[in-house]
Symmetry: C2
Subunit: 123 residues, 2 copies
DNA sequence: CATGACGGTATCCTTTTCGACACTATGGGC
DNA sequence: GCCCATAGTGTCGAAAAGGATACCGTCATG
């Protein structure tokens, strides 16, 4: 279902912007990354599958799996499976993922500052 | 064709991230904003329709119109039509649009730093 | 007269994304 | 025996996004 993005890389200089954008677009990735950056409990910040679900009640399992898998295959999060009896899977940011922090924070800051989504509401 | 985004605003705290993201996703908006921020010639930085087309040869007219209209209706760019004989239309950032500069710069910086899109290429 | 630049529209179609819903295996608690 | 939790997968279908192509009116140029 996914991974048709990353197709051309043809745009001239604003390309870098688009490239970054392509990694974090997709409806839930921003929030996932934000939660991993800001809300993960332990210092190395891991979250489990259902921890995400509790934080984002409107995401279906399928979508959550999907977005996490895409983030993983983009090298932004790492997935650790513990072969335990109640299955346990932890997600944490990779170095590459953590390096997105300024981006996420900029997005968050702007969203907070221009609180609403519609300009007329903000005005 | 557009404007079904901005639907719920239901997510908890990472919401601001998503909200910002929704304004600048869409295949070409990042590049458009980048060009307006970085490449527009005059101090107040206006670009004309075909100036965009020259900078982004792979965008169809329809898509360009579309993305510009969405940016306009999100209050990020302003569209000025000069009732002249060869029609002239200029696009420039609004205040709100200019306030996205840190975001765009963060996106650009990350994209430049982690140059390629695929992690294995970057590594 | 034909062509091109300007700034778009209109129409059609394909791809991509998203959501709903059901289903899986395992083990523990009641 | 039944239901809960864990972390998913599979299938279906609707909707949205995006691309291809053709067309519009005006004026200047060749």
């Amino acid at each position: 279902m996914a991974r048709t993005r990353h197709r051309s890389l043809d745009c001239s200089p604003g390309c870098a912007v688009e490239a970054t954008l392509q990694l974090i677009d997709g409806k839930w990735k921003g929030v996932i990354l934000y939660h991993l950056l800001a809300e993960a409990p332990e210092p190395e910040g891991a979250l489990r599958f259902n921890a995400f679900r509790r934080r984002m009640p409107n995401v279906t399992q399928r979508m959550l799996t999907n977005q996490l898998r895409e983030l993983e295959s983009d090298g932004l999060v790492h997935r650790t499976v513990y072969a335990e009896v109640p299955p346990r899977v932890e997600y944490r940011l990779t170095e590459r993922g953590r390096s997105l922090e300024p981006v996420i924070r900029a997005l968050k800051a702007w969203g907070d500052a221009h609180a609403a989504m519609a300009p007329e509401v903000a005005a």
